[in-house]
Assembly symmetry: C2
Homo-oligomer: 459 residues x 2
């Protein structure tokens, strides 16, 4: 008898799982349900399409439904899975553009249900004119709104990665943009000193930044449309369009209702092979939790790169192979106007919460030899465990050519290197690429000195 | 009694050793001898000064003699150490611009004598108009020659890093440039497929590249000046200036004459703390050999970044601290016209010589998400050990934003990661910085598939 795999969700994780499983086991029947109008697209690319750096929506799509079908996957677009019956081993679905509904049996099931934007519980949050930016269809809707005549003022609620990327996109479109956030610095996963530099860069682009000020309500006009954002300090920020940039939470409704266990973080609990605790049920992408290799905690990190890897791992295992997803260390990167910023491992606050005792060190250097044309400022900050000197976290911020250096530091952390091991690394050097002491190595030197000084203080 | 440190050579290694030793032990007497006119300068920057990207010679100098003196180091410029007497513990010196000579006692001695350009043993090689590019004074002399009226044709002998960098600099100056090399592709430390791409880039800049053709003689005119380079195939390449870009060999004359043991590679033998086998004698920089962490062999790698680190290590140890230099893995990077190229670990040929059995994999990707403006082509090649899948080497080539990614791979190799471990790494992702699968990860995937396929072939 032919085995059947049902995949719920056709973006990064679902699409990868379906493709890999089918590739490994060409006899497998694969049915993939997708609620939206696109499969396997780059959600991370939406801000750049809105800002105009990317010409067309189609460019964001890595694999269309037709391409998936050509690979032997039965793709059901605009079809929502509304229930999972684990005992009968069927999913219930309904068409979003028609009256069709039905059930689909499965042997294996992949839940790749993604995430939903966080919505603060304030009055007016569900009003017309308040936009999340989660799936491609959200991006389409927001872009349409921003193009309407008379739209001039945008308020972005939340100054995280997506919030700032959308704010920049709106600014590029010539709009009047305000970002409001309850924290003292934007992107709270950076240390405050780095966050302050991000704030400066955002303001330099002419974006208004309202910090340490939670949103208390969205004011709605007589037609039921958002017209202003109100804050605790009493600000009234007029808005033709409001965008939610508060991050996302895992969409676990289906899993919860079906009885698939969730983890401590609220995401679907999976093992390293992406198996849930329910027999034959797998999960991958924004809806699952991952092991943080440094804190030991389970965390939900909604990022396309993890979704792709997790989907691939699930698909390989379903197809009869063996693969694991070994966890995350919190690497992230973003471009904020002309500034690049990246982080990996634990921030100072996260290290504190995880129970580490640590020192920090930061250095200013240049992306190329100081005398080389185009050398840009770069700042590298390191967080190192006291006594052992183990590298726990790093943050890089600077102009063009800065941020991607975070990968080197991510790999140091992954391999549990100490800062004095880092400073001896054989990294590449030539004047067009770095000073003779690479900024990463200079930071490691300074962090090592901080560890040593701290030890002398303990004696 | 005050201890005295004598340092022979005042560039990267010597300058670092002197500075660190003095910093750690402020009571130490430090005398540093330098034959040339500059201390602590960037030899790697010379091509960019010749090409005009760097305005002035002064910009290449990280620390002047005056700055060293202000740090308490007794710097003796234009003074050559002509002999070391290990029994009497003195060095003999003579001034190059005067008649002065004398002896200087030492307790500790650092040999940082650098390297000398390789000169093929062919007729005419010592003629006027044949230039090495080793120390800053060589750069000054070459620049002067290139600026002379009537100089139009330059022949560079040797297509390694320095050879190509100088060729490009001459081309930027509007000169007619030919590079001649005995290998089939330039920069022999890259695999031939990567070398072929480098050759294409060089030719696209209008540089003539003569390959697989050894130089047999430098033809000299009646005044004793070089006028053409002759090759085995019978070419006669007219030259107003000839530049030697054949690489360097360690300058070990002083060490050898003094009885300081050399290693198997021809460099001065040192341990991880940069001690030679002679009591109280240390060595660092281009004149020493290092342990290659993959081949296990001793190798001489003349590179400013190693010289700085080794000098620092020697200085810390001399000053009463403890530090080690843990070896090299052959990381190197270069910009050839608009192309960036980098390598780390072993090339296919080196892996073969070191006795490894391996597979290779190469992928083409982009430096940013494919749809993102400014995405550039990048090619990543990996060399992985058969069966184990251990990453042995990697080469990256592409347009702007490609080559510095080699650092990530260098750290993978340093930590003895396998390619399947590499493909799970938590590397940074956002559309302005990479596709959702970073090129490094795609290459690791493909290398892992090659390892797996090879294992299936063995069964």
């Amino acid at each position: 008898m032919v085995k059947r795999l049902v995949v719920v969700g056709g973006d990064a994780a679902g699409g990868s799982a379906a493709s890999q499983a089918r590739k490994r086991d060409p006899g497998l029947d694969v049915v993939m349900f997708e609620r939206g109008r696109a499969t396997s697209y780059s959600a991370c690319g939406i801000p750049y399409w809105i800002g105009g750096a990317v010409d067309s929506e189609a460019q964001l799509i890595a694999r269309t439904p037709e391409q998936h079908r050509a690979a032997g996957i039965d793709v059901r677009m605009r079809t929502e899975v509304v229930g999972v019956d684990l005992d009968r081993r069927v999913v219930h679905w309904r068409e979003l553009d028609g009256d069709g509904q039905g059930r689909e049996p499965f042997d294996d099931l992949v839940l790749a249900t993604g995430s939903v934007p966080m919505r603060p519980p304030v009055p007016g949050i569900d009003a017309e004119g308040v936009h999340g930016v989660q799936v491609l269809d959200d991006g389409v809707a927001l872009r349409e709104q921003l193009s309407r005549e008379g739209v001039r003022r945008v308020v972005v609620v939340g100054g995280g990665y997506i919030g700032l990327e959308i704010a920049e996109a709106c600014r590029v479109r010539g709009l009047d943009v305000t970002v409001v956030d309850l924290s003292a610095t934007p992107i709270g996963t950076f240390d405050p000193d780095v966050g302050a530099l991000i704030a400066d860069a955002v303001r330099r682009e002419g974006i208004r930044l309202v910090l340490s000020d939670p949103v208390t309500a969205i004011e709605v006009d007589r037609t039921g449309r958002a017209r202003a954002v109100l804050t605790r300090s009493g600000l009234e920020l007029p808005a033709d369009v409001v965008v939610l940039g508060l991050g996302v939470r895992p969409d676990v409704r289906l899993a919860r209702e079906a009885g698939v266990p969730l983890g401590t973080s609220g995401g679907i609990a999976v093992d390293a092979r992406m198996r849930t605790e329910a027999e034959g049920v797998w999960a991958a992408g924004d809806c699952v939790e991952s092991r943080h290799r440094l804190s030991g905690q389970r965390v939900v990190v909604a990022l396309g790169t993890h979704a792709n890897k997790q989907g691939r791992v699930a698909g390989i295992n379903i197809g009869g192979g063996y693969a694991t997803f070994p966890g995350v260390i919190g690497t992230a990167i973003t471009k904020i106007c002309s500034l690049e910023a990246a982080r990996t491992g634990l921030s100072s606050e996260e290290a504190e919460l995880a129970g580490y005792s640590f020192v920090t060190a930061a250095v200013e250097s240049t992306t190329k030899a100081g005398y080389f044309p185009g050398a840009q400022p770069i700042r590298v900050k390191m967080i190192a465990e006291r006594r052992s000197g183990r590298l726990l976290g790093a943050q890089v911020i600077g102009d063009a050519g800065s941020a991607k250096r975070i990968d080197a530091l991510a790999i140091c952390i992954w391999n549990e290197m100490t800062v004095d091991e880092v400073l001896s690394l054989d990294l590449s050097y030539a004047p067009p690429f770095s000073p003779v002491w690479d900024p990463v190595l200079i930071a490691a030197r300074k962090a090592f000195e901080a560890v040593e000084e701290d030890i002398r203080g303990l004696l």
